[in-house]
């Protein structure tokens, strides 16, 4: 190539492209520096800064940061009983939301992937995604008016001698389950779609009834997809603090404690120490999940 064009001087752009062609490392570096730098500085950097501030403290009166190393925040988090109670409550809510989402999403996804005619499938996927177009706050406030004492729920339950559960923990679980349901349906749908029809037929040919086929064929093959969905529902619920403010009544979750400590108490270091709790839980969850192979389904 160079001998053929040796007569005229190569343009600058040609030389650059030639160098990049000969040096794959340089090429890769040039491609990835910007996005990787962004990831490290903006994402990990901010996270690191947050965790670092967990070892600082604040001036009691003015609320300004005092940058001297201390374990006091972690000690407070470990020894204050209210933090433990709230953490357990938050994990409970996240687990309940995940279970409810799975229970609702599985039949729905199965219908979408295996029962519905192909033309209907597209429409159903769009229908599942549609709620994501509306603002989170609008949906949460809509549920607030439904749970209200003069709301739709109360009106519908009154004929059965029941009343709306009102604002509180049950309302929080219901609304979070509603909000995160699409994130559970989609991975399960994708997992079921990959499940060959022939396997279901083979199972039936061998005399297995529906229940047996579900237990022995469908479930083992879709567990990774369910777990992948649960990562979304669990982590989103664990970190949520806005829904609970809108429909949770007086309930507070770990996200509220972090928010209160940043916002009301102006104690960023303590908030950072508290924020490590959900991070540790999620890291543990992800490590456990890795064994199921669910991370390949994300």
């Amino acid at each position: 190539m160079s001998s053929a064009e040796g007569a005229r001087p190569a343009s600058f752009a040609r030389r650059v492209s030639g160098t990049l062609y000969r040096r794959p490392g340089l090429r890769l570096g040039g491609l990835l520096t910007a996005p990787l730098g962004y990831l490290v500085v903006v994402y990990l950097g901010a996270l690191g800064l947050l965790l670092m501030s967990a070892f600082w403290t604040t001036d009691e009166f003015s609320g300004n940061l005092v940058k001297s190393f201390t374990w006091a925040n972690f000690h407070a988090v470990a020894t204050t009983s209210v933090y433990r109670t709230v953490l357990i409550r938050s994990v409970g809510v996240a687990a309940a939301v995940t279970v409810i989402c799975t229970a609702v999403a599985f039949p729905m996804a199965f219908f979408m992937a295996k029962v519905a005619p192909v033309r209907l499938r597209r429409g159903l996927v769009v229908a599942v995604l549609t709620p994501l177009w509306a603002s989170y706050l609008v949906k949460a406030f809509a549920w607030r008016s439904m749970f209200s004492g003069d709301g739709v729920l109360d009106w519908a339950l009154t004929p059965f001698g029941l009343s709306s559960p009102g604002f509180g923990l049950p309302a929080t679980v219901v609304v979070l389950s509603y909000l995160w349901l699409p994130y559970m349906i989609l991975p399960i749908y994708a997992g079921l779609e990959r499940l060959p029809e022939s396997m279901l037929e083979a199972s039936a040919d061998l005399g297995a009834k529906a229940g047996r086929t579900f237990r022995s064929v469908v479930l083992p093959l879709t567990i990774p997809a369910v777990v992948a969905g649960s990562i979304f529902t669990f982590s989103l619920s664990l970190g949520d603090y806005i829904t609970v403010q809108i429909v949770g009544g007086k309930t507070q979750l770990i996200g509220n404690l972090i928010q209160t400590n940043v916002g009301a108490a102006n104690n960023l270091p303590l908030a950072a120490a508290l924020a490590t709790l959900p991070i540790v839980i999620m890291v543990g969850y992800l490590l456990a999940v890795r064994r199921t192979g669910a991370l390949d389904n994300l």
């Binding site: 300004n64 940058k67 007086k250 009301a264």
Partner: protein, 398 residues
Amino acid sequence: MKMRATLVATAAAALALAGCGGSSGTTGSTGQGGFKAPPMKAVTHLGPGEGQVNLISWPGYVEDGSSDKSVDWVHPFEKATGCMVKNHAAGTSDEMVNLMKTGQYDAVSASGDATLRLIAAGSVQPINTKLIPSYKDVFSGLKMKPWNSVNGVAYGVPHGRGANVLMYRTDLVKPAPTSWDVVWNKASPYKGKVTAYDSPIYIADAAVYLMAHRPDLKIKDPYALDDKQFNAAVALLKKQNADIGEYWSDALKQVQSFKSGDLAVGTSWQYNVNLAQSEKAPVDAVLPSEGSTGWSDTWMIAAHTKHLTCAYKWLNWIISPKVNAQVAEWFGEAPSDSKSCALTSDKNFCTTYHANDEAYFKKIWYWTTPIKQCLDGRTDVSCKTYADWTTAWQEIKG
């Protein structure tokens, strides 16, 4: 929407803090109770207007006609001064203190539990009252108070004052209450429909109640609580938690809950009461016999504002007689400008709200930041700080 904005602002505050924290502890003038103010001088003259001013305010303080077409003192201000107003309504004093730390705002309507914190953190600057013509008409009972000045240096202009009232549904709460009993010891009939203000400063409301009903605790000032008094107040609040339906910090959400009947009784602002009544909710409010907590608000200017002249112009505007009368009537509080009483649409307004009645305001305990040095003058014990109050508040909510 507002919550999202708060979130962004808090994140910004966190980053700003991480970047330049630790500016406290400089030598400055020492004031009330060993209080230190960072060294700063008030400006002596103002330049031309900058065309913009960013405010943090209590809901109802900065109205541009969007709540009610006839309630608008922002557009006339913009027309008169050329300063365009951007406003952020905050729900609690803590939010205001944090937002001011971002450095993105020029002026704030701070209550007494925020002012000293703002001054100590170096977030606000001293004010040259000579540059604010309306200041001379402010009631003398509001000038140079411990919450708006340090050692004779003014840090803001008084906006107005009022009491936290007891709001109740007239159809659900009978007979009409005259005491805070209905949210404390006699709250059980309204279980799940009682509300309280979602801020550590609400502990003072429990202390006000205990002042009247537990004389053995010898509480002299609800913001100066020693160990024993503090624990009694916290115990009362924990007991109240069983009856609470919701804690509120968003005025509109509280109004909505009272309207729908999800809440029946609890502490509120006159502004919320007026709003609920204007929306035909069957509610009323009373200042209970025990007295109450309350606020005396001060407009302050950010230390490093980029819109200094416009901020000064806003301060002058908001306490000028006509505007001060408008805002006082809209919010339901006593105005700070003595001339505004003649300009209210209800001629008895200043009498109703006790504008110049110092005896009445003796019953009101203005929000104040609790500090270690007991504010009631005791020197043999140390009092609980606001940091202790916030920790306790989280435990109360459980």
